[in-house]
Amino acid sequence: MASTALERRRQRQESLFAYLLNAPAVVLILVLVLYPVGMSLWLSMHRYNLRRPETFEFIGLGNFVEVLSSYEFWHALQVTLYFTALSVGLVIAVALGIALLFNESFSGRGIVRSLLLIPWAVPGVVNGLMWVGLLGEYGPFNEMLGDCVELFNRATGAQVDYMGMASPVVALNAAIAAHVWRSVPFACIIFLAALQAIPAEQYRAARVDGASSWNRFRYITLPWLLHPILIVSIYETMNGFRTFDLIFTLTGGGPGDATYVIAWQTYKEAFGRLDFGRANAYSYLIAFITMGLAVVYVRLLYRRGTVQG
């Protein structure tokens, strides 16, 4: 049935109305996201250092070649990947555990669930400062770790020196611990929402069918949680990649370059060395990696039919 001219006009009016309502958000995103994304590519192909603002010269992929052949990039990428992979794994494991636990019925459940909101509401900067104290010379976690190493030494006769945050291994993993602590609640709340969405009849039906509690978890709970787990892992992957504020206050990238995550490296390149050209090459590489992840994100969501158009 062909639509009439009248209807087409009406459809155009509808579209116009909708675009009008979306205009402010779209303009903001165009000016402050899409335009910068394009400009970033343009800048990344130039020699552009604020220390020598008069030189702005096109060098094609020169910055990329420089970055990709530098130790700093690969080191930062390696640190970031380690940081992100471990964070994602830990966040999911801890959040899932807590969510399953808090989904049981016990007195005080409401209170402990609201306590979850504390780490979530702590800004990253403050989280870093907090863990400076917690892991600092007199911090409780520092002492606990020290005691553990001492016990380990005594038990095995090993001679492991514990240097606290001065040790690269401790610093990086401490940053992960701090990051995970702050990220768990969000994931946990998502998992709890997913758990509550499981119809109780399914469990009753499974019990009637004689399924053991493990089987009920395996065949009912887990399938319902797959989608939230997917979302959390992608969300946390992106979060890991962009971690900056925590590093800024907790380690400042140190000791040495042990916690130079890629966001920190880019920041240093741009606002430390003022090398905007090279920093933009960094930016573009990060954008490339995370956009790739975003595509996977959208794809996976679509396959599961959760995005309604």
């Binding site: 049935m1 009439t4 009248l6 209807e7 009406r10």
Partner: protein
């Protein structure tokens, strides 16, 4: 005054045609029901009358004025929704007053009219409450009060009773009929419940797949269905259908036959038949027209499969050689499951439908 004319109305959603060339004239103060199964286009039609959806083509006229392009807020119609659509953030009073406020009615008059309607609808005790504190029946009353208070030119009702429990539905039917009589306004009522439509309407428009199947009084719809769809949709339990062949014997007498049944058509009705026999037809017989007591000239034999006593009636599910159908009879008939019996059809009540088109071959105007 509110006469509604719908002219060649068509509405498509992409490839789906919801309303297909619908032409309908609704008289002032009439109670007209749009009846049909879900997806037949009845709600779409109502929404177009209200202005909530736009027509793909065709016109809607109120008292001769073309309102097709008029926004809903300027049509002065009132609507009751299936979900009631009470504003959850407003108290009952404000729900009822909302439409008046939007029209700039003076405050004192709003108060007076809301109080008056609330008293009439017996919800004056509930005015301070929020909708979620009301029962289903109370919400229904508020929804009605909200429309009545505005004194609109017509009332549009979209399945207003379908969310009520069975008892409340019956009493609200009566109430709506009373309201219609008192308000003296045009009511356009949408329902999928054929019993409701028969009880309440002045006229019924039966829709299927976006097309008007029949327009007529409840009696016409029930006794002279225009086609097999209307016949099967209206009436409960539904009409029995038998695939059969229409023949004309040497004496000029018309008979409908298949392997199990044989039934004669009353000559006075057969004169409407303008077809060439033999013809493949559907024989339609309502359960109350299947006779199982004192059968003189049996149309066939069947055995009782299920007995359903309903108090004043007894419904029998009969089986004749693989065909099952229902018969209504008196509860003291004493039929037993498995019992074999002879049956016949009330010759002046049976319907014949063309197998291909479903058209009623015996209808007076056919």
């Amino acid at each position: 005054m509110a006469r509604v004319s719908i002219e060649h109305l068509r509405k498509t959603f992409g490839d789906v045609t919801a309303v297909d060339d619908l032409t309908l004239e609704i008289a002032d103060r009439e109670f007209l029901t749009l009846l049909g199964p879900s997806g037949c286009g009845k709600t779409t039609t109502l929404n177009i009358i209200a202005g909530l959806e736009s027509a793909t083509s065709g016109r809607v006229l109120f008292d001769g004025d073309d309102v097709t392009e008029v926004q809903p807020e300027r049509r002065d119609v009132a609507m009751v929704f299936q979900t009631y659509a009470l504003y959850p953030h407003m108290r009952v009073y404000d729900n009822i007053a909302f439409g008046l406020r939007m029209r700039g009615t003076p405050r004192a008059e709003i108060e007076r009219r809301v109080a008056e309607v609330a008293r009439a609808m017996e919800i004056d005790q509930l005015l301070r409450r929020k909708p979620r504190q009301l029962s289903g029946g109370q919400r229904q009353r508020v929804a009605l009060a909200r429309t009545i208070v505005r004194d609109p030119r017509m009332f549009l009702l979209d399945e207003p009773l379908s969310n009520l429990d069975a008892q409340l539905r019956v009493s609200m039917r009566t109430e709506l009929k009373r309201l219609h009589a008192e308000l003296e306004k045009t009511f356009i009522y949408v329902t999928h419940d054929q019993a409701e439509s028969l009880i309440m309407s002045d006229r019924i428009a039966v829709l299927n797949l976006g097309k008007l199947q029949q327009l007529g009084s409840p009696e016409e719809i029930y006794n002279q269905p225009a086609n097999a769809f209307v016949a099967g949709f209206v009436g409960s339990p539904p009409m029995n259908f038998f695939a059969a062949e229409l023949r004309c014997d040497a004496a000029g007498c018309w008979r409908v036959e298949n392997d199990e049944i044989s039934c004669e058509i009353t000559p006075s009705r057969a004169q409407n038949l303008a077809v060439a026999a033999p013809l493949q037809v559907q024989l339609g017989v309502r359960p109350e027209d299947v006779e199982v007591v004192d059968v003189e000239r049996p149309a066939g034999h069947a055995s009782v499969v299920v007995r359903e006593p309903m108090g004043s009636d007894l419904f029998l599910t009969l089986e004749a050689d693989g065909t099952t159908f229902k018969a209504r009879t008196h509860p003291d008939g004493g039929f037993k499951r498995g019992e074999r019996l002879a049956f016949s059809f009330a010759a002046d009540k049976v319907h014949l439908f063309a197998r291909e088109t479903g058209e009623n071959l015996l209808a007076a105007g056919a």
